[in-house]
Structure formats: structure tokens, C-alpha cells
């Protein structure tokens, strides 16, 4: 095998300019794909972080039918104490779950005594909420300590529109499940900064205040349980591990609860999937570059060396050895492109992290691009390049091995 590699290497060196050009093209393709993957991965990571860490959590549990009617924020599809106890017991025993938070989501009227508007409120247990959605705290300005009873956190858009600031007293008016209307005075405890997507305009009060305005009495009742996992990459396994909740049936033999992942609930998951599709497209372009360039150089190589192939065949070189000689040439080109391309990509990613390029997305400005490239990604791209190099070399190699020695020796 060493001798095959030695001869193939020397054959590549024979036309060094062409070899260098082909290898550079493959290298450039690898750099292009890996850099795109690293950059899109940075954006994807930021988006997922924003969505899951400050708004949706990783998994949400509701009473069956809640998500289908979520636009109306129904209060008649809340989880009662028995359901909460059952779910809490399962979550506490689940090895994938880091924390969870109870909340009631409801619509209310927000009045600053001059004007009135709608607000979507999240009634939370602050300690649970900030543990389960750790990035939420970073979006809040003006809040001293934790959210307390009698305080409301209002979204930035609403604060600006209603000319309301931290410390102002406002009135929240809401309909309860029975249809009666009630209101409470609350003080603006903080302003919640914007994030992209739904939930960026939500306000927050304590669960106790929500019980008062909704006249719920002492019994615990929530509309949503948000779950945070120890590791987001275990999302699929963790969801499957919640089977006892998913399979729990009510008295009529129908499912009692519904469990959704953030991917099922957030429209931004489609954008992320689009990024993945674009990533795949980049890889297909890379495959085409490698395929065409190696096929071209190998066909040329066979065409130029017909007489030489005839000579080694006449001497008794087996057709399979001739195949190996040409496959080794293509393989070396692919391996060179994959290794140099990967090294260059790691270098460029490191450089981008030093330079810290910023970008704007929607209303969010000054976001820092923090591309990262995993060894696994570089290796999988490298393996694709090497495999395609082999595939591209196969046809010229087989052609070379099938040459009739007599005809080949006649060629000049």
C-alpha cells in the first residue's frame, strides 16, 4: 500500500500546478462550508437560547386542549391541584429535568388612569420562574430584588406606549373563569426588555396577585408548567421520559395532559430548520465542487497516461492495482483539501471570535457573532469530502484498469 501511495503522490506532483489548483478548490469549499456552519450555528445558538432561556423553557405541560386555544388564554383549561401534584411528582423523579415553573397566563386590561390597553400577563412564582428561565432576569430593568406581591413587570413596548415608568401605580383588570370582572392596583416594579418572537410583549405578576384578581381562592391552579432540562441535547429523550404524564387518562379514558417541546411551540423553530436546510445545501455545493474537480483531474490524468497504464498492465500489474493507484490519487487530493480546509476554518473561526463582529436582528442590535466549530463537524465534513473524492476517482480508475494493454501501448 505504501508503494501505491508513493507512486500516486509522485504522479500528483508530476502536474503540480493542476494538483495545487484542484486541492485549493476543495480546500476553499471545505472552508466555505465549515465557516457557514460555524456562523449559522452562532446565530442558531443565540436564537434557541433567547427562546428557551428567557421565554418558553424547553418543554411545556398543559391540560389537554390548552395549546389549541392558547390565543384566547382560556382559564377553564387550567391544571388543578391533583393534576399539579401528579405532574410535580413525575418531574421531581425525572433525571433529565433541572427545574420547572408554574404559571397562569391570562389577558387583562392595563390602565395608567389616563388610558387603557390590553396586556398578556404571566402569573409566576418568581423563584421558580427565574431558575427555569435564567435569561429572563437579564431582560428586566429597574427591579430591585425579586418580584414581590403588589408589583408588575411590564413589557418595554407597553411602558413606552403608555408612558409608564418604574414606580408608577397602574390598575390591572381581568375577567375570571366565571366571567366576573375584578381589578387590583399594582406598582410597576420593572420593565421587561424585548426579545424576538411571541412572548416579547408579556407582563409578569406574582401567582398570588393573579389569584386575587382572578378570585381563584386558596386552591392552587395553573395553566402552564414550564420545564428546563439539564441538557437541551436530551430534549427528545427527556420528552419520551415524560410518558407517564403524556399517557395519563381522565375519567372518560381520554388523555389528561399535553406535553410540547419548544420546537413544537415556537414558530422560530422553522427558521432554525431553514438554517439547517441551507447548511445541507452548502454541503451539497461542496460535494459538487469536490466531485467535479476531482473527476476532471482524474479523467485528465488517465487520458494523459494511457501509454504508461498500458506499460504497467503489460508488465503484469493487476487491474485492481491500477484501480488502487488512481483511487489513491483522488483520495490524497480529498484528504489534503479536508485537512487544510479544516485547519484554515478553525483559524478563521478563532479570528472572528477575536474581532467580535456585531449584527442587528429585528429590534435587537449589537448582537455579537460568536461562531464555534466542533471537531465533530469538521470531521464529518472531512469524511464527506474524502468519500466523494473516492467516488469521483472511481470511474476514471475503473476506466484505466479496463484499458486494453495492446491499444494503450499504441497510444502516443
Amino acid at each position: 500500500m505504501n508503494n501505491i501511495l508513493k507512486i500516486s503522490f509522485r504522479n500528483l506532483k508530476r502536474n503540480s500546478r493542476r494538483t495545487l489548483l484542484t486541492a485549493s478548490l476543495i480546500t476553499l469549499g471545505v472552508v466555505f462550508v465549515l465557516l457557514y456552519t460555524a456562523l449559522s450555528g452562532s446565530f442558531k445558538g443565540y436564537m434557541i437560547g433567547q427562546i428557551t432561556d428567557s421565554n418558553m423553557g424547553h418543554i411545556q405541560i398543559h391540560k389537554k386542549g390548552y395549546v389549541a386555544s392558547v390565543d384566547t388564554l382560556p382559564l377553564d383549561k387550567n391544571l388543578n391541584q391533583v393534576a399539579i401534584d401528579f405532574i410535580e411528582k413525575e418531574l421531581k423523579n425525572n433525571p433529565y429535568v433541572e427545574s420547572y415553573a408554574f404559571k397562569i397566563k391570562f389577558g387583562a386590561m392595563f390602565s395608567n388612569f389616563e388610558s387603557t390597553t390590553n396586556i398578556r400577563l404571566n402569573a409566576i412564582i418568581p423563584e421558580q420562574e427565574f431558575k427555569t428561565l435564567p435569561a429572563l432576569e437579564q431582560r428586566i430593568t429597574g427591579l430591585e430584588g425579586e418580584l414581590s406581591g403588589g408589583e408588575v413587570l411590564i413589557p418595554e413596548l407597553l411602558a413606552n406606549g403608555m408612558k409608564t415608568k418604574v414606580g408608577d401605580t397602574i390598575v390591572l383588570v381581568a375577567n375570571n373563569k366565571a366571567g366576573s370582572v375584578n381589578g387590583i392596583n399594582v406598582k410597576v416594579g420593572g420593565i421587561v426588555g424585548q426579545i424576538t418572537g411571541p412572548g416579547g410583549k408579556d407582563g409578569y405578576i406574582t401567582l398570588e396577585d393573579a389569584k386575587k384578581v382572578l378570585r381563584m381562592g386558596e386552591a392552587m391552579e395553573v395553566s402552564e408548567i414550564v420545564v428546563r432540562l439539564k441538557d437541551l441535547s436530551t430534549l427528545e429523550k427527556a420528552t419520551a421520559s415524560l410518558a407517564p404524564i403524556i399517557e395519563k387518562q381522565n375519567k372518560e379514558g381520554k388523555p389528561s395532559f399535553e406535553v410540547h417541546t419548544w420546537e413544537q411551540l415556537s414558530p422560530f423553530y422553522n427558521i432554525i430548520r431553514m438554517l439547517d436546510v441551507m447548511n445541507l445545501s452548502m454541503k451539497i455545493i461542496l460535494i459538487s465542487i469536490v466531485l467535479i474537480s476531482i473527476l476532471n483531474v482524474m479523467v485528465m490524468s488517465v487520458y494523459e497516461r494511457v501509454r504508461e497504464i498500458g506499460t504497467i498492465a503489460a508488465m503484469g500489474t493487476r487491474p485492481s492495482t491500477i484501480v488502487k493507484l488512481f483511487l489513491a490519487e483522488g483520495l490524497m487530493l480529498g484528504i489534503f483539501g479536508a485537512i487544510v480546509g479544516s485547519l484554515l476554518s478553525f483559524g478563521l473561526v478563532a479570528l472572528l471570535n477575536v474581532v467580535k463582529i456585531t449584527y442587528d436582528f429585528g429590534r435587537e442590535t449589537g448582537l455579537v457573532l460568536a461562531p464555534s466549530l466542533s471537531l465533530g463537524e469538521a470531521m464529518s465534513t472531512g469524511i464527506i469530502v474524502v468519500l466523494i473524492s473516492l467516488v469521483a476517482s472511481l470511474s476514471p480508475a475503473l476506466k484505466a484498469s479496463r484499458l486494453d494493454p495492446v491499444e494503450a501501448l499504441r497510444t502516443f
Binding site: 508530476r14 501509454r307 506499460t311 503489460a314 508488465m315 503484469g316 493487476r318 487491474p319
Partner: protein, 228 residues
């Protein structure tokens, strides 16, 4: 050692069939120094290619030693050539990316797969025999035509073949060099008892062989043994 019986070779060009070898039979013994002569198109190269297992006859049988080679598969024929047959070409056909030493060593690595020590011994012995020992590290583009043919001879002989086929081996050499090459092959034939079969027009070779087979239009018209 080589026995060809009733060989026929027909080439098809479109609808047209051309019979270039007609009922050709021949026996070649160990250590013979034979020349196939005849005008252009008489079928010399075709016979050489068939006897050298590069081409197969349309009809007839060829046996080399105890092996009937006409029935062998493409891959088996390659193995047989590697182990039993040497070739010397008009244009030397050295591999340009390999040095003189590596060109001679090539069949031992790629075909016979011999260990390094044995390879080195065989290669150096032949390079000494053809007078190319001091040029062993040069690539073919750094040596003359005569030297290239010496290397080609060493390469053809390094596997200790039973028979060597040479197609116009002196055609690209000047007279003086051609004489030296013929003398070299003659000396090797005597030393190693190797059979040489030439397809040639060259009078310098013809005058040195001990058997001349004349072909005209694919038929043997004479088979003459020269007593010296």
C-alpha cells in the same frame, strides 16, 4: 516452452472483418534468440502480443510452460505475465515519476511483492549487468535513449521471466547504441538462458539471432535456424 497451435486473429472494423493471422503454429524452446521478421502489416506485433498474453487469438491455443494461457481471465493473464514474461518496448516506456532503481524494482513490488532485501539484491544485480548501477538514482528524463533501453531490459529481466518479448527494441537508438543493446541482450541470454523473441525490421538484430521466422500476410513463409 512456448507452443502456439493454429492461431487465427481477426479484427473487426465496423462491418468489415480482417484476418491478420492465419493458421499460425510455432514452437519455441528454452534459451532461443528468435527474430520475427516481415514487412509492415505482416502480423509480427500481433503474434508478439498474443504470445506475450497481451492479446488473445480469435482461434487457436497458446501454451507457455505447462500453462494454457488462452483460457485465462484478464486478471490471471496479468499475473501470468508478471511471473513469466518480460517486455521490452520500442519507446522504452519507463515510468517517468520513478528513478532508474525504482523502475526496475517496480515489478518486484507491485507484481511479485518480494521482500525489500531480495528486491535490492535482484535490482542491483541487473543494474550492474546492464551497466546502469551508477545512474540508479536518476529519473528517466536525465538519461539517454540507450541508457533508458538498458533500464527497460533490466526491468524486463528482474522477475526472472521464462521469455522476453521485444517489439522493435532498437528502432529509437543510434547504430552504435543499438549494437551495444543487442550485445547486452545476447550476453544476458547466454548467462540466464532467457528466451528472447524480437519483432523487428532491424538487420542488426536479425544478423545476431539464431532463428528467423518470416511472416507475410499473417502466415509463416519461412522458419530458418542459423548455425553459428
Amino acid at each position: 516452452m512456448v507452443e502456439a497451435k493454429n492461431l487465427q486473429k481477426v479484427y473487426k472494423v465496423g462491418e468489415l472483418e480482417q484476418e491478420v493471422i492465419k493458421d499460425f503454429s510455432l514452437c519455441i524452446g528454452q534459451g532461443e534468440f528468435i527474430s520475427l521478421v516481415g514487412p509492415s502489416g505482416s502480423g509480427k506485433s500481433t503474434v508478439l502480443n498474443m504470445l506475450g498474453c497481451l492479446d488473445t487469438p480469435t482461434k487457436g491455443k497458446i501454451s507457455i510452460g505447462d500453462t494454457e494461457v488462452t483460457g485465462l481471465s484478464r486478471s490471471k493473464r496479468a499475473d501470468f505475465r508478471g511471473a513469466n514474461i518480460g517486455f521490452i518496448f520500442q519507446s522504452f516506456n519507463l515510468i517517468p515519476v520513478l528513478s532508474v532503481y525504482e523502475n526496475v524494482e517496480y515489478p518486484l513490488i507491485m507484481i511479485l511483492n518480494l521482500p525489500q532485501e531480495e528486491r535490492k539484491e535482484r535490482v542491483m544485480k541487473l543494474l550492474r549487468a546492464v551497466g546502469m548501477e551508477e545512474h540508479k538514482d536518476k529519473t528517466p528524463d536525465k538519461i539517454s535513449g540507450g541508457q533508458m533501453q538498458r533500464v527497460a531490459i533490466a526491468r524486463a529481466l528482474v522477475t526472472n521471466p521464462k521469455i522476453v518479448f521485444a517489439d522493435e527494441p532498437t528502432a529509437n537508438l543510434d547504430t552504435k547504441t543499438a549494437h551495444k543493446i543487442i550485445e547486452l541482450m545476447k550476453a544476458i541470454q547466454k548467462e540466464f538462458r532467457t528466451t528472447f523473441v524480437f519483432a523487428t525490421h532491424d538487420e542488426k538484430i536479425v544478423s545476431n539471432v539464431d532463428r528467423i521466422i518470416t511472416l507475410v500476410d499473417g502466415l509463416i513463409v519461412s522458419d530458418e535456424r542459423i548455425e553459428k
